[in-house]
Amino acid sequence: MKKMIFASLLGLSLTASAVAMAEPVKVGMITTLSGGGSGLGVDVRDGFMLAAKMAGNKDLEVVIEDDARKPDLAVQIADKMIQKEKVDILTGIIWSNLAMAVVPGAVGQGVFYLSPNAGPSALAGKGCHENYFNVAWQNDNLHEAMGGHASSAGFKNAFILAPNYPAGKDALTGFKRFFKGDVAGELYTKLGQNDYAAEIAQIRASGADSVFFFLPGGMGIAFMKQYAQSGVDTPVMGPAFSFDQGILKAVGDAAIGVKNSSQWSKDIDNPANKAFVEGFQAEYGRLPSLYASQGFDTANLILSAMNKADVKDADAFRAALKEADFDSVRGDFKFDSNQHPIQDIYVREVIKEGDVLTNKIVGVGLEDRSSAYVDACKL
């Protein structure tokens, strides 16, 4: 009897999944694969494709295009993917200014957008949309954790800087939200800027007791190298974007001991993360960054929803996405009402493992952090 129930249940679930898998899901990935920020896009893409490969689901079809960090190009690619390629889901955008250009139009045309990186505040509050899911973080999150950490570490007068684009503004807003001390100076630099001599001179003159900077990709490399040579010894800190795996390799020993905040780290202890870190190294021969982890989680979220619902049934698919029924490499993960994550943000320290620089978790910055804008979202 027991056996029969089991068998019929199995049969049921098989038919259910057969229905769900009937339609292939076409994902359009628009990401930065050339120019200054290409390391980030490559990591998101590689993380995403690794998850797709590990799942082996033949119904997941991915088309990838390079936006070269240009908003106009990203919009063109999105239109082409929606109208010509008939994609069901768009994903991949790294930079918040590109996300702001693409996402509202795309979700307005009825496709889903799953963000593996950018989480501009404008899309987390009043501008939230039922088809927009953020699988990474709301932009402010990592910086909020660092602001809190800076206060508890006893810093009272911080100099803060970020690039002049939506994520940069979110970054400094987030930091100030949880930092109780004074701001000795606040600077917005040009996106893609490579020379920080003028900013470092101002830091030197400001009398700050700490420096918080959000400079992802090549910008962070340039800043750290120049800072190390400047003779200024004020301690620096930042979000993981300023100290990710790609940056550490190029900065060298100057980064050792620096604290930074992240929702993910390669030493988070859970089976999904272990499989991810090992699989990534085996596939690509390098350590994954947080961007890769976000790409990996995005793909797994899509795969989990594909097992539950048909993408052509938008309401069912949306509900399946919202359940977030997948094993995130970060551990606990769920969506808040604005469809942005509720997750822990850790504080990490840059260490040397053998001769490789990497990050190690030293504490939890914020537990179960949602986003500051959730109440403004009417979902």
């Binding site: 030197r204 490399i221 390098r286």
Partner: protein, 306 residues
């Protein structure tokens, strides 16, 4: 703002200008002598940086890397001139822009293919590490000071080369009348290759020098290229002296604008707003400078052969 901070920022501006000069000198020579717009000049800058990083990692010596970047970029420039550029002199500027833009794509993708998308590691040589105290209590990174000195030495060298040597004489002659000098029996093809390789070597050197304090990555040359074009337009196309003055002018205006404009707006605005308005205006500062100079002197500050 204290005097020490002001001096430091002025030095930063000059150092930035010197880097632009190394890029702009080659660009302006190629434009002046051959009448060619070379968009791929930024690729030579990138090639210099990648060669320096690779050789420095392989041999452990930054200086060997620097020499290799000079030689490598010059060689790349010579090959580029012989294979592609040579066919473009007689064409109009639009064809040149199209062809050299194609070269950018080829070089970028080629470099990505060989080295990957992730930035390479290149560090400052130990002897130039750290900061020094200058008179007046200014603390300044030694490496940037070395760049300023090296750049000024190169500017002097170029001046002597162009005004005092036979090669320089031919370059100047080529600028003013290219038919005439080939009629006088000068091998203009070789001359063009030499000038192009010289410009390439300077761009490669700039890339290597900058690579040590910024990041060595694909696409690093294009933002500098745009500024280098601004410099040669301000300085007067074809004039090396104009390139030097224009570069330092652009470097100082850009650096000072980035610091002073946000502070200026902070006098009567809320801080966050002032920084964003100030930063936005600062990124326009050099283009405004260019517009003003072109309005007053349409040929640029030191127009050659005009």
């Amino acid at each position: 703002m204290t005097l020490a901070l002001f001096t430091e920022q002025l030095l930063n501006g000059v150092q930035f200008g010197i880097m632009l000069f190394l890029m702009a000198a080659g660009l302006t020579l190629v434009f002046g002598v051959m009448g060619l717009i070379n968009l791929a000049h930024g690729s030579l800058y990138m090639i210099g940086a990648f060669i320096c990083a690779t050789v420095a990692v392989a041999t452990g010596s930054f200086w060997l890397g620097l020499i290799a970047s000079l030689a490598g970029a010059a060689a790349a420039g010579a090959v580029m001139e012989i294979v592609v550029i040579r066919r473009l002199y007689a064409r109009d500027h639009l064809d040149q822009v199209l062809a050299t833009f194609a070269l950018i794509l080829i070089f970028s993708e080629g470099t990505r293919w060989v080295f990957g998308s992730f930035p390479l590691y290149l560090d400052i040589p130990p002897i130039l590490q750290g900061a020094v105290f200058l008179p007046g209590g200014v603390q300044y990174p030694l490496y940037r000071l070395a760049i300023i000195i090296a750049g000024l030495a190169i500017a002097l060298g170029l001046y002597l080369l162009i005004s005092r040597t036979r090669l320089g004489m031919r370059i100047r002659a080529g600028e003013s009348d290219r038919e005439m000098i080939s009629a006088l029996g000068v091998d203009i093809r070789t001359l063009y290759t030499i000038v192009f390789a010289l410009g390439a070597a300077l761009a490669g050197l700039a890339g290597a020098l900058v690579g040590a304090i910024q990041s060595v990555q694909v696409g690093m040359g294009e933002p500098v290229l745009i500024l280098a074009f601004v410099v040669i337009v301000i300085g007067g196309i074809g004039s090396v002296k104009g390139a030097l003055i224009g570069a330092i002018l652009v470097g100082v205006v850009d650096t000072m604008g980035r610091i002073l404009l946000p502070q200026f707006f902070a006098l009567f605005m809320e801080n966050a707003q002032a920084t964003s308005v100030g930063s936005a205006l600062a990124s326009m500062a050099i283009y405004i400078l260019m517009a003003i100079i072109l309005a007053l002197k349409p040929q640029g500050l030191f127009a050659a052969g005009a």
